[in-house]
């Protein structure tokens, strides 16, 4: 801080002759004293009885603009303090923090003024760092306490206000079509807000979408326009805002929107960093809560999907089957297929899709399969089986709506005879080994809808190599493509054509694979495919 090269003490430069003479007469070490004064970092200045500068060291020349023989002329609060009666001060002068103390000696006033800016900054930074650590520790503690997703989201927003923002929104990837949000405002009477948001309403480059993709969207004037509609009525003008991702396990757990009113300081780099660290903790907690919610229930569904189902070996037929659950765990629906012997020595197969999602659908799938297993012991005719199942479904306390394909297989000379009945299900594709693919002409209403439901039944003969491809609508309704919204639909036929003659299992796996690949963002619904082929 002391400028050894540029400036020297005022004694030397201005009143050098007189001062040096006086000092020299009494003290031969005057030069040393001058150097000593200049070597002090504090500004030191002595004033005579008239307030004129007697001696000033280099720091005083620089800091207080002291000129020997002249009065001190310092602007602002510092000037006032130096002229005032108080023996000490601490004040801000420009961007510096100064501390002064005065002694009176021999009728002279001597001020020592020290620049303590760096020290103050260091202390502030230390306190701020301690405060941030404490905030994060507290956040971690409170976030770790809940394994409920909604509660964790609310806690996240509560913790962020007012520390990080005046309004905080936690946005969660709720479903395929909607996002869930939770909001906390700093207004004294503000209630906790919650609601849903159409994914379709988000612009392609929405900061929320970006954050859900893992990008931090820093403070940006345009952010205010996008976010305005999400804040509480009467929040007022947004001063600054940012969106940070809430990182989860293997996918974003959500996004955190932080908004400050006009008038509050913008986000400083340290605050952005703090928000990200906070978001990391919140994201982990949210992901843990989501995992906990899904886990118990998914275990058996996963078992079913991940450990390939065994299909029986049937004389004269080759079977292939695949099942892939929808991407989001809570959306695991109820697609299923079964192949079992019937009481007449033949075989039956069924492939179904329980309408509904999640835990309910899974439970319903279980009920439907059990009912079918009981009924098939009595009734080998597919159409009759559907009617019985319909009656049983309607008699139950709850109505289980399900679409089904049921078939019975008989080995005949030169192939397989299949009797096929459907209830509200896409007609299976009949793929001839020699060429030609078409849906089997059979239709019917969904099971469990009305008592007098109409179901269709038809007979098909499969020559060696011919196959029946039964599938659930998760295949044709897989959405993807360039725009992400196009159905897989007719592509199924092209795929089947390309794989004509392939083994049944290869066909089944290929269809599931193509539908999954088509749905780039993940299957929105279960996919189940069962292929029955007459042995070559």
């Amino acid at each position: 801080m002391t400028d050894d090269q540029g400036g020297g003490s005022a004694i030397r430069s201005r009143t050098g002759a007189s001062r040096r003479a006086r000092l020299a007469s009494g003290n031969p070490a005057a030069g040393v004293l001058t150097a000593m004064l200049d070597g002090i970092e504090d500004a030191a200045v002595a004033l005579d009885g008239n307030g004129l500068v007697l001696v000033a060291n280099a720091s005083a020349v620089r800091l207080l603009r002291a000129k020997a023989g002249a009065p001190l002329a310092v602007p602002g609060a510092l000037g006032v303090a130096l002229a005032g009666p108080e023996p000490a001060f601490e004040l801000d002068h420009g961007d510096r923090r100064l501390q002064g103390r005065r002694i009176v000696a021999d009728g002279h006033v001597v001020w020592y003024v020290r620049d303590i800016t760096e020290q103050v900054v260091r202390t502030d930074a230390l306190l701020a760092e301690r405060w941030r650590s404490a905030f994060l520790a507290e956040a971690g503690r409170r976030l770790g306490g809940s394994l409920n997703v909604a509660r964790t989201a609310r806690t996240t927003a509560l913790l962020a206000v007012p520390v990080l923002a005046d309004s905080a929104l936690v946005i969660l990837p709720g479903t395929r079509t909607h996002l869930d949000w939770f909001r906390v405002d700093d207004a004294p009477d503000a209630e906790l807000g919650a609601g849903t948001l159409h994914r379709g309403d988000l612009a392609a480059d929405s900061p929320i979408g970006q954050a859900l993709d893992g990008l931090t969207v820093p403070d940006d004037p345009r952010l205010a326009e996008t976010l305005g509609g999400l804040l509480a009525d009467g929040f007022g003008e947004i001063g600054s805002a940012m969106v940070v991702p809430l990182p989860g396990y293997a996918a974003a757990a959500g996004a955190l929107v932080l908004a400050r009113r006009a008038g509050r300081a913008d986000f400083e780099p340290a605050e952005v960093h703090l928000a990200q660290q906070f978001a990391a903790r919140a994201g982990t907690a949210l992901a843990a809560a989501a995992l906990y919610a899904d886990q118990a229930y998914t275990a058996d569904v996963l078992q079913r999907s991940l450990e390939v189902p065994e299909l029986p070996a049937i004389p004269g037929a080759v079977l292939g089957g695949t099942y892939r659950p929808a991407r989001e765990q809570l959306r695991i629906g109820g697609d299923f297929f079964d192949v079992f012997p019937d009481p007449d020595g033949g075989w039956m197969f069924l492939l179904g899709d329980v309408c509904g999602k999640g835990i309910e659908a899974a439970a319903q799938t279980g009920r439907t399969r059990q009912t079918v297993h009981a009924l098939r012991l009595l009734e080998p005719r597919p159409l009759r089986l559907l009617e019985l199942l319909n009656a049983a479904s309607l008699n139950a306390d709850r109505s289980d709506l399900v679409t089904l394909v049921v078939g019975s297989l008989r080995r005949i000379d030169g192939g397989l005879h299949v009797t096929l009945a459907t209830g509200g299900h896409p007609a299976p594709l009949l793929v001839r080994a020699g060429g030609g693919t078409e849906p089997v002409a059979v239709r019917g209403m969904a099971v469990g809808m009305v008592p007098e439901a109409q179901f269709g039944e038809t007979d098909v003969v499969l020559a060696p190599g011919d196959m029946l491809v039964a599938y659930t609508d998760g295949v044709t309704e897989a959405r993807g493509g360039a725009g992400g919204r196009e159905f897989f639909g007719e592509r199924l036929l092209a795929e089947v054509d390309a794989y004509r003659g392939a083994p049944a299992q290869v066909m089944a796996e290929r269809i599931a694979q193509r539908a999954s690949e088509w749905a780039r963002d993940g299957l929105q619904d279960d996919v189940a495919v069962l292929v029955v082929q007459a042995a070559a």
Binding site: D205, Q295, P325, Q329, A482, A502, E509, Q513
Partner: protein, 340 residues
């Protein structure tokens, strides 16, 4: 121990071409009878033959349906070899899975069997396991390790998220497969505890680890220093549209494409963007360069003029003028094409 010979592989390939499962099973059984080690049948016969099948597809000698039928036969051979050489599980549990979106399950299936032969208790979860499902499984069963297989580098961003999440769950990750690059060199960069180029390397790597161990490595910083791969991926549609429009300008025949042809073209154009992003993600030009080399083989054998690829790279570079790393990857790709 008897080794698998080139003649054996040629004979097996013929059976694959005919998709003759019973004969292939008999052939593999014959090799075991002759004294070939099960590991030899799995790796020297099946794995190498499958690699050859992939080459035949790339060279347009086999159709994709033939390739899949062959793979189906090989899968049954692997299962049969596994059943015939059952080894009691004396070691910990290893979960083997393919990264979400990765449908090439044969390498993972082979790894599962080889690990089983070495005494590990193995759960094979198959192709394209969605990340959240895998995580749920790991939390439920708490295995000693999870082996992640990735054959295409396109799945590396997904792989990284799964690796991170598995480690969060306290399960060490061993990653391998061609998708992780030569010698699986990107696996460690993506945070895996162990990397293995092949099944035997995986066995050796796992041998060195005590059961129930915690992840050792610290999670590395972001792979790429910037977000180029994320930002470009977001603009994928725009890039493909630009290239389609230009293709129509330069090659009027493109305007008369059937919807299926158009879709195939879009697929190729999209794939170029995706491989570019993957290369940027691991920050290694080798990834994009080797993709371009492969694409040249695939398209060349299907009589697609390679100049269209070069032009596409040029158009992409035009759009991505302010992405310095992308530009250098694209330029490297173009150099490979120019070198033929």
């Amino acid at each position: 121990m008897t080794a698998v010979t080139d003649e054996d592989r040629a004979a097996y390939l013929t059976l694959l071409a005919e998709a003759d499962t019973p004969a292939a099973l008999g052939f593999a059984g014959g090799l075991l009878d002759r004294g070939v080690a099960p590991e030899g049948v799995l790796l020297d016969l099946v794995a190498r033959s499958q690699a050859r099948v992939g080459e035949l597809w790339a060279a347009n000698e086999w159709s994709v349906a033939q390739e899949h039928a062959a793979t189906h036969v090989s899968e049954q051979v692997v299962a049969a070899v596994g059943a015939r050489t059952a080894v009691g599980a004396s070691r910990g549990l290893v979960v083997v899975a393919c990264v979400d979106g990765e449908w090439h399950s044969m390498p993972a299936r082979l790894l599962a069997e080889v690990l089983r032969l070495h005494g590990w208790n193995v759960r094979f979860l198959g192709a394209s396991v969605p990340g959240p499902h895998l995580l749920s499984y790991l939390h439920h069963y708490g295995p000693d390790a999870v082996a992640l297989s990735c054959s295409l580098p396109l799945r590396l961003t997904t792989a990284r998220r799964v690796i991170e999440a598995a480690r969060e769950a306290g399960v060490p990750v061993i990653a391998g497969g061609a998708g992780f690059g030569p010698q699986a060199r990107w696996a460690l960069r993506l945070g895996a505890d162990l990397a293995a180029a092949g099944a035997l390397e995986a066995v050796r790597a796992l041998d060195g680890r005590p059961p129930g161990g915690r992840p050792l490595a610290t999670v590395p910083a972001a792979v790429a220093a910037d977000d180029e791969h994320v930002l470009i991926a977001k603009r994928g549609r725009e890039l493909v549209d630009v290239a389609l429009k230009k293709l129509e300008e330069h090659f009027p025949v493109v305007r008369d494409y059937t919807p299926a042809q158009r879709e195939a073209t879009e697929f190729d154009l999209t794939q170029i963007v995706e491989f570019l992003c993957a290369g940027l993600f691991v920050d290694d030009e080798h990834l994009f360069v080797s993709f371009v080399e492969w694409l040249a083989v695939v398209l060349g054998s299907r009589r697609v003029p390679l100049v269209t690829v070069d032009m596409t790279l040029q158009w992409y570079a035009g759009v991505l003028y302010d992405f310095p790393r992308a530009l250098s990857h694209l330029a490297a790709g173009r150099r490979v094409l120019a070198a033929g």
